[in-house]
């Protein structure tokens, strides 16, 4: 028996495990110990569940106009039997919207759109941003300058205004709004990736791969990019939150999702002049947006702390 094996045996006897633990396992453990991250994951879990099952749990379809089907009026206040609403009235726990549709069902279906908006824009922005940032950082020189100065120009505009301008060019609609928000968020990811690439480009293990005959593609994606993963995940999670907010804002202004799509921002925007007479139609979609954004913010913060090696002593 070698010395090393002896050592392991004696350590095992003292109850110290030497089983290797991956970074992701550590991250998971730390994440589950944080109350805020747990709250975020719980809300997100519920939202994902609602989004996946909306067509089963929603009492009505999102575009189901109830005129002639039930005795309800446009913008009727919520009617909940448990809280004293007369039993002979049909139950609508979030009330009726301006086009005589069940607001609750529309809110449930809205979870689908918001999650889709968040994930698709950020995926788009991460892919493009990563490619641009990686090229800028790896190649350097005038190409780096060109790409990053262009990113500076994009960053010099308030993101919402730039998104409005892009949507006006492309024409209003959900897909174009997604594209606009995606484009606007590219610079953040390009910067993150470029910074990571610059910080490890000259490391010895990169030179070693090069010396062993690895091509640029392999060096970039197998050796350098894994280092950019951590900040990208954090930035991406927080980015989903702001993408959902921006998309809701565009829809609020009438530039994003078009009726009858149950997008929370456009539901809110359509009824904004009725805030004094039918406050539930403004209040509830806003709460839905805020909860979704909150869940991603909490999760993003939790991930940042969990992935931060400087906070290792916390775990």
């Amino acid at each position: 028996m070698t010395n090393a094996e002896n050592d392991i045996k004696s350590l095992n006897a003292e109850g110290i495990s030497l089983k290797s633990v991956s970074l992701w396992q550590i991250t998971w453990r730390r994440l589950f110990r944080r109350l805020s991250a747990l709250v975020g994951m719980t809300i997100l879990g519920i939202l994902v569940f609602i989004a996946l099952t909306a067509h089963w749990i929603a009492p009505y379809a999102y575009d189901d106009v109830l005129i002639g089907k039930e005795d309800v009026k446009a913008r009727q206040a919520p009617c909940i039997h448990m809280f004293g609403c007369p039993k002979d009235q049909p139950q609508h726990i979030a009330g009726i919207d301006g086009n005589v549709r069940d607001e609750f069902s529309r809110l449930l279906y809205g979870a689908r759109l918001s999650l889709m908006v968040g994930f698709s824009t950020v995926t788009f922005a991460i892919i493009i941003g990563t490619v641009l940032g990686a090229i800028a950082g790896y190649v350097g020189g005038w190409l780096d300058n060109l790409i990053m100065r262009f990113m500076d120009v994009l960053l010099a505009f308030p993101s919402l205004l730039l998104a409005i301008a892009i949507v006006t060019v492309l024409g209003p609609g959900l897909i174009n709004a997604l594209l606009a928000i995606g484009i606007v968020s590219i610079p953040a990811y390009a910067r993150v990736v470029r910074a990571s690439v610059l910080s490890v480009r000259e490391m010895e293990y990169v030179s070693a791969t090069r010396a062993l005959g690895g091509d640029s593609f392999q060096i970039l994606f197998r050796r350098i990019m894994p280092n950019a993963l951590t900040p990208l995940i954090v930035q991406g999670t927080l980015g989903i939150a702001s993408a959902i907010l921006d998309a809701a804002a565009l829809s609020f202004l009438g530039l994003g999702a078009q009726p009858p799509l149950p997008e929370w921002g456009s539901m809110l925007g359509a009824e904004r002049n009725q805030v004094f007479t039918a406050p539930h139609l403004v209040f509830l979609p806003g709460i839905a947006i805020a909860l979704t954004v909150l869940s991603f913010n909490l999760l993003g913060d939790g991930l940042r702390d969990a992935l931060d090696p400087r906070l290792a002593h916390v775990s």
């Binding site: 500076d152 919402l160 904004r272 209040f283 806003g286 954004v293 909150l294």
Partner: protein, 359 residues
């Protein structure tokens, strides 16, 4: 120092040039016919041809770009096609609304956010800390337009007959005298130029103008109108600033020199404010600079919700109405503003931390 500022300004020229080109291109590729967008669907071909010729829209695009660049360098932003007014005049008219709103929102976020952050760092893990963090996390997650509408609902409708009632829209109530200071002081206005623009600009900053002319009625009314929009716009930056102030203070409070200061027997207030806060300011200034930028995006929504004709709403309307003049001029002004803020933030670093040398 002066050399650094000069070099920074030089370095921002390419970015400003890029911004000019990008806005110009965005304004030109917005689909749709500017003539019919402005004059209406029924405008005849003949009228449209003349319209296009008058506004130089028939020239090649690169020629239009050069003409435009030349005009901008001379401080002439051309005319708004929609309002038939010089864009500069519109800017003087609408900028004060946004400036007042943004400054008020910034004050809300600073005067609430920083103390909250400091207190929750000093009383780490206490109920006030937990409450602040819950509030900060909720604050950054709320849509600005929703918060604005909810504030209007609570303060303009629910609190209608109480002293807490606040107006839901506009800048001043009808009938309130708001003579600009140059009229009250009997100043003779210059014909044109920068001085006239400054006079008119200041005259439209209601609160400053009210103070200059001792018009207390106007002051009270303008402040009442400003509270709700400022709260709506200031909440997100407030939450960001509170969070950053807390984590920066926590970092600093754990340092050895803080223990030394305490061991010397210094009072808690001196330790926190003089030793700790000053050193926590650096990351705080960065986030304040960033939030100032995001205020302008939020201003579009806040101005829409509260019926204010400021820069944000005008720009949004101009983009959708294809009013090239306004889009180009307002974007340039906003971008220049961004560049200046970034410069100020960088300059403040060396002031706050003398170890940082600006090279």
């Amino acid at each position: 120092m002066a050399q650094y500022i000069f070099r920074r300004i030089l370095a921002s020229i390419p970015v400003l040039f890029g911004i000019l080109v990008v806005t110009f291109i965005i304004a030109r590729v917005i689909p749709g016919d500017p003539c019919r967008a402005i004059l209406g669907e029924k405008a005849t071909q003949e009228i449209c041809d003349r319209f296009i010729q008058i506004h130089g829209l028939d020239r090649p695009i690169h020629e239009q770009l050069f003409v435009y660049m030349g005009e901008v360098l001379r401080g002439d932003f051309g005319e708004s096609i929609r309002f038939s007014l010089p864009v500069t005049r519109l800017l003087i008219e609408r900028l004060p609304t946004t400036v007042e709103l943004s400054l008020a929102a910034l004050m809300v976020s600073l005067f609430v956010g920083i103390p909250l952050g400091i207190i929750s760092a000093v009383k780490h893990n206490s109920w006030i800390d937990v409450l602040t963090m819950v509030w900060a996390n909720t604050g950054v997650s709320m849509p600005v337009f929703w918060l604005g509408l909810m504030l209007a609902y609570v303060f303009s409708l629910l609190l209608k007959d109480t002293p807490f009632w606040l107006p839901p829209s506009g800048r001043i109530s009808p009938g309130i005298p708001n003579d600009p200071f140059y009229k009250v002081w009997d100043l003779t206005l210059p014909e044109s130029g920068l001085l006239l623009a400054t006079y008119q600009f200041v005259g439209r900053l209601n609160i400053l103008n009210a103070l200059l002319t001792s018009n207390w009625e106007l002051l009270k009314d303008a402040i009442k109108h400003l509270i709700l929009p400022a709260l709506a716009l200031g909440t997100i930056p407030m939450a960001l600033i509170a969070r950053m102030a807390r984590s920066a203070m926590l970092d600093v409070l754990g340092q050895d020199y803080i223990r030394t200061a305490r061991a010397k027997g210094l009072r808690q207030r001196v330790v926190v404010m003089k030793h700790a806060f000053r050193n926590a300011l650096l990351p705080l200034v960065t986030i304040i600079g960033l939030s100032l930028g995001s205020l302008l995006g939020g201003a579009v929504l806040t101005e829409t919700v509260f019926g204010l004709s400021g820069v944000g709403r005008t720009l949004y309307e101009a983009i959708t109405a294809r009013d090239y003049g306004i889009v180009q001029a307002f974007t340039v002004v906003i971008a220049v503003f961004f560049v200046i803020i970034n410069l100020l933030v960088d300059l403040s670093y060396s002031y706050l931390d003398p170890r940082i040398r600006l090279e």
